[in-house]
Symmetry: C2
Subunit: 575 residues, 2 copies
């Protein structure tokens, strides 16, 4: 159909030539789903070049890397440093030199040559013949939740496909494919422009962070694009983690009928190798392998958290973790994850009982440490707490025991754990869950201490789901820990339920408010008591100040606490 | 000139009518520079209505309020809650009803009726005859430093002046006037469009946060606009503070020759009242008053910080502050600021000596507390520190005294101060300065505790400037405190200079890196030793993790630590 439209003059001759060539032609495409380290140019560049060389040996015509692969994603405000951007571009030039006899697509910022507009583009470089052959820029710049791309980048406004070895490539970057829903966030669609130039294939380079629902959303998006534009799609995602953000990989190849030709590994590096028949647009998977599949969404979350811990340590050169093991469920879950990520030889636990700790708490914690065969200490906080009480006896004289004494205990534990960190080089793993963080049921500088919050994006009920998954084959977490009523044990016979609604109820309210951003009216209308809803929302909003000083949280939901949720502190709304 | 172009048909008749009217016409404009509370609709709306009524009594035709006045600025992610936006719009409607016999311009989000693009606009509502007469949207959405407006709002693309009582008003919002420099951040200029419709006057409603250089920048911007467009400008800014952000006010009126007719108060609410002769475009100040002027930039910073503290407390309903008074200069300065903001009866200080505290430190602190007549306690941390050492003796056996013991002292102070907060309802003022925060010379959960960081955006050398200003009339801060060498006193004879370059040198390097984002090469080339520059930049970049858990910092520079500076943690760049 399209050829008929061009049946005249020069255009006609070109078209015939292309048809002649494409009759015989295939393009061998390698997808390199790799783990980059933000700002570590030497590491990223040598990894990219290694994979270009390997792909060349394997006979690839083109190897594709993910978004901002040269500098790592997200570079955040490093992009405001001209030196950083220049290092990016220097490294692109170095990588280009390796591209002889093979082409590569890599991601890097580029400079906007125009005076007007922001100084940078988020770009995909097409490297061939030892040079930068083409540069394409990202059009749709995500600027919601954890994304800040419009902070740095000017959107692209020019649309041109790339021709390489007779193949017309519509090259886009991540979000560029994401504007196809009922309430589009952007006023245009880059593929609507590119499709006018009759591309043979879409290639999208991405850095799409993980969340529980993201894998499915991503699949819908690629299917919707292929269904709409009717050409195959090669989609390359980032894998790894950068502090809070976990990148799950799962790069995809879809044929023109929107059937999946291949999906790369989740949570580990992977390479795919394909042959695209340019004329028929059929795709052959040249190196099919069977990969890990997941049986439940909690299994996926589990693997995401393990990767998140692993990367936080490895990329910073840390080896050893420490955590307080209370005999409760949260620290138990964190311990299991930490062991999987770091190895039991690199994890140490400390039980820090006080006069309010129940015997079963300490015993359950010891039982667990023994089951998992990790080093443990029992360090009572009694003396520290007693001394603090004595130290403050004059000031506190005549006042009743209250949150001050409760927090002193929690902070004594914090001091001791941090002292062990400072003495021996451990990183303290924070064990707060999302329900606690949401309502401020935790002590700032006490149990809220830590280098990274492991389960801060899991509601308490989700923590129980994770335990079920962990204990499915073997009782890693003693059943005693699982069945007991949650308690902070900071006063006699304290239970979480003294201060909070049951977690089943609480989490449902929290989810509607935090993830769905529903109004009090809507939440009440969905079947909850008005007084409880009002109290819970008020707790969430008046505890922003605590979360501002919380450790970074490994993000597994669509709305995690941290820089993806930016709330005022000095404010009065539902509070 | 413009009138001749319209000499035909209906347009001609209209123009003659307008000329006839404007010959006689003036517009009385009131500027209301007010302090709003984010999300507190009842408070904001009743304040706005009060001022509409007052302006009406005073004979104003139009009263102008600042950007997003209905909800307070910045509302941040509250804008993602539909309930919040609907409350904004309901309150706009309530305010509109008060606008009979007077018009008003107020700021509020509005909903984007189109499906494509973001769901909201940042809007200026023109209210008249008891109704919403017109709505105009912000075109240029700042999305750098502390600004996130593109996160929420769709940019305006339609340009129409507003005609009211024969006066043609070019109504814009804050950033809309800011795209006139050599490296424009945006590809267009809203006033270039509006000027084509021959407005008589520009009105800009703003929420422009304070920084040391902002007052001057803002003056340049308004002068440049008036010089370019040759019509008067009424500019209304917000005043107050919202956690980190301080809004200084200083609303301005400029005549068509870019001469200042008036500048409203800095750091307090103020109302201006003017008569604009529509034809001649001359402006009369109907209620001229003399206002406070400033003799130095450090005096301005001083007033900004006092307002910042005051607002943090008042808007959250807190009254009383506490701080640790070490005998060093940082806590001394914070004490003086706190007393000015809250009154000495609301400030309590605690000296927390250890075995490493010098006698002069405690004595100097006592001297200062007595001079300023504030309640003080001396609470030794010796017992707590001893007990902690004993508690950890088994684990620490055979290890040399190191940063673990240093931090234990700092954290013991943190616990005690927080215990007093929890017991008596104090808010702990953090006393870290920007130099310390930059290089990580502070203890997380120790001296880095606090509800708000008062001087975290002042380099150490600027803290000394502030002391000079404070002590100019009376020696509020004992000279002993001013002249001693800075020390954390966490080990025998410790001095800051043992670990860090002299602050004179350090601060210059930090400023070039943090504020100017210069490269190591450029900083070295400006006359600094390579080894020192490398060390300092490395310290800055490896301590991002500490700053992530620091209290919110009152922002007085163009690049403050906090949400205006968004750095990766797990990264390797200059580190």
């Amino acid at each position: 159909m399209e050829i008929e439209n061009e049946f005249c003059g020069i255009a006609f001759r070109c078209v015939v030539l292309i048809i002649f060539e494409t009759d015989l032609q295939t393009l061998k495409i390698a997808l390199a789903q790799l783990n980059y380290h933000t700002g570590n140019f030497e590491f990223n560049t040598s990894k990219i070049i290694d994979h270009i060389n390997k792909a060349k040996i394997d006979g690839a015509d083109l190897v594709v890397f993910s978004e901002l692969s040269v500098c790592g994603y997200p570079p955040r405000d490093f992009l405001e440093f001209n030196d950083f951007v220049e290092r990016c571009i220097e490294n692109v030039e170095t990588i280009a030199k390796a591209c002889t006899g093979i082409a590569a697509i890599i991601g890097s910022p580029s400079k906007n040559p125009k005076l007007e507009g922001k100084d940078l583009f988020n770009s995909a470089y097409f490297l061939a013949d030892g040079k930068i052959a083409e540069v394409r820029h990202k059009t749709l710049l995500p600027n919601y939740d954890i994304f800040d791309e419009y902070r740095y980048f000017e959107p692209n406004r020019n649309f041109n496909i790339i021709e390489y070895k007779g193949c017309k490539i519509a090259l886009t970057i991540c979000e560029d494919l994401w504007n196809i829903n009922d309430n589009p966030m952007y006023i245009m669609n880059p593929m609507d422009e590119l499709i006018k130039q009759n591309p043979d294939v879409m290639i999208n380079i991405a850095a799409s962070p993980f969340s529980k629902s993201q894998i499915q959303s991503r699949e819908h998006v690629v299917i919707d694009n292929v269904t709409k534009y009717k050409i195959p799609l090669f989609y390359v995602n980032h894998i790894g983690a950068q502090t809070q953000l976990i990148f799950d990989g799962g790069s995809m190849v879809l044929d023109k009928d929107a059937k999946f030709v291949d999906t790369l590994n989740y949570f580990s590096e992977d390479i795919g190798f394909y042959e695209l028949d340019i004329k028929s647009k059929k795709i052959k998977n040249l190196k099919p392998v069977s990969r890990k599949t997941f049986s439940s969404s909690i299994e996926i979350v589990h693997d995401a958290l393990v990767l998140g811990i692993k990367e936080y340590f490895r990329k910073q050169g840390f080896k050893k973790a420490i955590l307080g093991l209370s005999g409760g469920i949260d620290s138990a879950v964190v311990l299991v994850l930490a062991i999987e990520a770091l190895g039991k030889e690199n994890v140490r636990v400390v039980m820090l009982p006080s006069r309010y700790s129940t015997e079963h708490s300490v015993n359950d914690a010891i039982d667990m440490a023994k089951r998992l065969n990790v080093e443990y200490d029992i360090i009572s906080i009694e003396d520290t707490f007693n001394t603090l009480e004595k130290t403050l006896s004059k000031q506190f004289e005549g006042t009743p025991f209250n949150v001050a004494e409760e927090n002193m205990q929690s902070r004594s534990r914090g001091i001791i754990l941090m002292a062990l960190c400072n003495k021996f080089g451990y990183i303290l793993l924070n064990t707060s869950n999302k329900s606690e963080l949401a309502v401020g049921y935790g002590t700032l500088y006490g149990d809220m201490c830590g280098g990274i919050s492991v389960i801060g994006d899991l509601y308490k009920t989700e923590v129980y789901d994770l335990v079920k998954h962990m204990n499915a084959i073997e009782e890693l977490i003693p059943n005693n820990i699982v069945i007991k009523a949650p308690s902070a044990e900071l006063r006699p016979d304290q239970k979480d339920s003294d201060s909070l609604p049951d977690y089943d109820l609480l989490d449902k309210i929290l989810f509607q408010y935090i993830e769905e951003r529903k109004s009090p009216k809507e939440i009440i209308a969905s079947g909850f008591d008005e007084a409880i809803v009002t109290k819970v929302l008020r707790l969430v909003n008046t505890n922003e100040y605590k979360r501002l000083q919380a450790p970074p949280v490994l993000r597994v939901s669509q709305k995690s606490f941290g820089f993806g949720r930016r709330m005022p502190i000095v404010a009065k709304y539902l509070s």
